[in-house]
């Protein structure tokens, strides 16, 4: 019975992020109705604002599940988008641009994880080094190949792809791939187990280095798709492109109920739930005409509360013996 009640409370904790999203949606609709806001247009905005974060965060779940952390996702996306734009300008092919964006992001991710494996460093450390390197690289790329401080792709070339339906299609395809590999393949089970206890995973025959490399590849794929969609949404790229993505991804994943320590409780849908919740929260505060400083503070408080609650509930399940 004791265990049953613990399981029920664990299940309630798991459902909390989705419940939070539903509540936020309710608040949003109520305020929108009261203020006569165009709801379909607002939803379109929400999708536009959150979809790139959703895709990148969904890929990043593979890294977080292992208990690792990548601080260079935004910089990686910026460089991938710049290289993708250069590829388009050289070939006039959107397909080539897509492939280059994805290839470049996967290559950057692989470099981080392979460096960590070769030098036996925590992945976090290599991603810090990659962050500096990628920031420098984006400056060099713009200086050598750009016009002024930007690299541009003709807006006409990508305009047709800048639709909500296309973005939803890309996200659905990527999410389906992630759900399949994470929930219905050995890979996901092995990732979660390794994140939960790397030593036990090793003694269960799992290869943490191989899993880390695959995890980073999946994250790279998400970053590459995010870079491609960034070009279609804003074809003028600068060094500040995707600068907030890294932080948005972290916040979304935590908002979505993903444990910061990774492991068995990791879930793919956390990224989508978290990104949508975060965007809805921003929209609500915008509709309430809150000062941007106050909005940031509210977000920070909610972020801390979510982390505290998730860690507190985890501690409670461990302590009594």
């Amino acid at each position: 019975m004791k265990n049953k009640s613990k399981n029920i409370s664990a299940k309630l904790m798991e459902a909390a992020p989705v419940a939070g999203l539903v509540i936020l949606l309710g608040i949003f609709l109520a305020i929108a109705a009261a203020k006569n806001v165009n709801i379909p247009y607002s939803f379109k905005n929400i999708v536009n604002q959150s979809i790139i974060t959703m895709i990148v965060a969904t890929g990043a779940i593979y890294i977080y599940t292992l208990g690792a952390f990548d601080i260079s996702l935004g910089a990686s996306m910026c460089v991938s988008a710049l290289v993708g734009a250069m590829a388009y300008n050289a070939t006039q092919s959107v397909v080539v641009m897509l492939l280059v964006c994805v290839g470049c992001a996967v290559l950057i991710s692989l470099t981080s994880s392979v460096l960590a494996s070769v030098f036996n460093l925590p992945v976090f450390v290599t991603t810090i080094a990659m962050l500096s390197l990628l920031n420098a690289l984006s400056l060099v790329l713009i200086r050598v190949n750009g016009t002024g401080d930007v690299i541009q792709v003709p807006a006409m070339a990508v305009m047709k792809l800048n639709t909500v339906w296309f973005k939803l299609l890309v996200m659905a395809a990527f999410t389906a791939l992630c759900v399949l590999t994470f929930n219905y393949m050995k890979l996901g089970r092995q990732q979660k187990f390794t994140g939960g206890n790397p030593l036990c995973a090793k003694l269960s025959g799992l290869n943490a280095k191989k899993l880390s490399i695959i995890g980073f590849m999946m994250a790279g794929l998400g970053v590459g798709l995010g870079a491609f969609l960034t070009i279609t949404y804003a074809p003028t790229l600068s060094r500040n492109t995707a600068s907030s993505v890294g932080m948005d991804v972290i916040i979304s994943i935590v908002f979505g109920g993903m444990p910061v320590s990774g492991g068995a409780r990791s879930k793919i849908h956390a990224a989508i739930v978290g990104a949508l919740s975060m965007t809805l929260l921003s929209q609500i505060m915008l509709m309430l005409n809150l000062d941007s400083g106050i909005s940031q503070m509210i977000k920070a408080v909610i972020f801390l509360a979510v982390v505290y609650v998730s860690m507190f509930s985890s501690r409670k399940t461990i302590l009594p013996r």
Partner: protein, 497 residues
């Protein structure tokens, strides 16, 4: 003698479960009170409440006749009640010295800076005083083995010179040397008119060391035995509520094992842990490996599973060599580690996750795809055959009792039908009921033609279960003993020391 510890009508619930139901007990000065009961009977809950780890829902506590409500374990220890917990109670990332003076580094500060030298000196003295002088107080706790970490914990408690010491199933993690340290501390405390509450599953040990023995079952006090009433059968019956039927260990002595050799290790060397060590394991054999804790037997288990690499020598299964754990598993080897909670299980994962992980290649459809139905069937078979007490297989392992956790660790390898199972201290910290079922399971596996390498610090277990017994000393094979009715612990000890 006046009562030092008094617990009156204590109740504790976790959700709807009653962990302690109106428990009253007392221990007086100069007494060693034993607490015994099956896993989950409430022994640790009652003592951990007294030692400040958690709060009770109802009841009162007295310490030296005064109301007793410690705010935390540190508070209790500062006021005279210390507890050594069953599992790991040290922080791995800091030194042994910092563990001993955890939360008290201010005592060693000169202005802004901590005088590490002074702290290490004082910690080393604390270790030396309990007889653990082989531990370097400056080393990180994570670099010490399980036994030495336990000794660091004991030094931390004893440094405060407590009036009451709770020893919670600690001895099962220790070699004879470690046990002797605890026994000496208990004896010294008793002679000094202090109180010890001693929790153990080892009936011989608890009968030898305690003045009185209280049996708990399902959160209730069943009976308290005075030393002149100690009788093994009566205590066991009180513990499990029935007479234990069947043999505890296997009772065959004539049965010959098959001659087919399944695993061969030749001339293994690894620092001072393995020195020119050779052995072979036969089909359907239970091969016992015994010795003092640091004799190299635990390292041998890891080397045989390829979790550690020998510097030289070869290991073959049916003439195949293997390089890593995954390859060992493909050769049909399974490994249950000594340090269950950190090496054998992911505590914050479900029973299903833990059992299925080693058998994913067996569950997977087309090598990679996992369907819930297949996975559930695979796991449920193990849960049923091992009688794991749980609501369902999605329950977190951290919520299980020690014995059931160990069954999950077994289930991981049983599920994939491992033909050679390396068990390192498989019955550590489990009660006699679970122990018996594990021995029966080992015997059943033997009869199915599976081979078991049983590494243990419990001589009775080794003698009772092994077909052959290899005794190790200082990394070397000291003696091979055959199964026999006449084999006694004294015969075995002779080669260990």
């Amino acid at each position: 003698m006046p009562d030092i510890v008094e617990i009156k009508n204590m109740s504790k619930r976790f959700g709807p479960t009653v962990a302690l139901d109106d428990v009253s007990l007392s221990a007086c000065s100069g007494e060693v009170l034993g607490l015994i009961g099956e896993n989950g009977s409430g022994k640790s809950t009652a003592t951990s409440i007294y030692a400040g780890m958690q709060k009770c829902d109802e009841g009162t506590m007295l310490f030296k006749g005064q109301p007793w409500n410690p705010l935390s374990m540190n508070d209790a220890l500062a006021k005279g009640v210390g507890m050594i917990v069953q599992e790991n109670g040290t922080v791995p990332g800091i030194s042994a010295a910092e563990n001993i003076f955890l939360g008290e580094t201010a005592e060693f500060t000169n202005g802004l800076f901590v005088n590490r030298k002074k702290m290490i000196e004082k910690a080393q003295n604390a270790l030396d005083r309990i007889g653990a002088d082989h531990i370097n107080a400056a080393l990180p706790a994570g670099a010490l083995d399980f036994q030495d970490r336990k000794l660091v914990e004991i030094a931390r408690v004893m440094e405060k010179n407590p009036d009451v010491l709770v020893v919670d199933e600690t001895t099962t993690a220790l070699s004879q040397k470690g046990r002797d340290i605890i026994y000496r501390i208990m004896e010294e405390m008793k002679n000094a008119g202090k109180t010890v509450i001693f929790i153990s599953h080892d009936l011989d040990e608890i009968m030898n060391r305690c003045d009185r023995l209280t049996v708990l079952r399902d959160g209730k006090i069943i009976r308290t035995f005075n030393s002149d009433e100690f009788e093994e059968g009566a205590i066991k019956a009180a513990m499990i509520g029935r007479e234990l039927s069947g043999s505890y260990y296997r009772d065959d002595y004539e049965e010959e094992t098959e001659s087919e050799t399944v695993l061969t290790a030749e001339h293994l060397n690894l620092t001072d842990q393995l020195i020119d060590f050779s052995m072979e394991v036969r089909k359907g054999e239970i091969l016992g490996i015994g010795g003092l804790s640091h004799c190299g037997m635990h390292t041998l288990g890891k080397v045989l599973f390829a979790a550690e690499k020998a510097e030289s020598g070869t290991i073959k299964v049916h003439d195949h060599t293997y390089e890593n754990e995954a390859a060992a598993m493909k050769e049909g080897i399974g490994y249950v580690a000594k340090d269950r909670d950190t090496e054998s299980l992911v505590l914050e994962a479900s029973i299903k996750d833990n059992i299925a992980i080693a058998g994913l290649d067996r569950i997977a459809v087309k090598k990679h795809f996992i369907f819930r139905k297949n996975e559930n069937r695979y796991v449920d078979e193990q849960v049923a055959s091992l009688s794991i007490k749980c609501n369902d297989s999605s329950q977190y392992v951290s919520t299980l009792s020690g014995g059931n956790k160990q069954k999950v660790a077994f289930g991981k390898w049983m599920g994939r039908d491992s033909q050679i199972l390396i068990l390192d201290c498989p019955t550590r910290g489990v009660d006699i009921g679970v122990k018996q079922s594990m021995y029966q399971l080992m015997y059943r596996m033997k009869q199915e033609g599976k081979s078991i390498i049983l590494i243990s610090e419990e001589m009775a277990e080794l003698i009772g279960m092994s077909d052959r017994l290899l005794i190790m000393k200082d990394g070397r094979l000291q003696k091979e003993l055959k199964r026999s009715r006449e084999l006694s612990e004294a015969d075995v000890i002779e080669y260990m020391i």
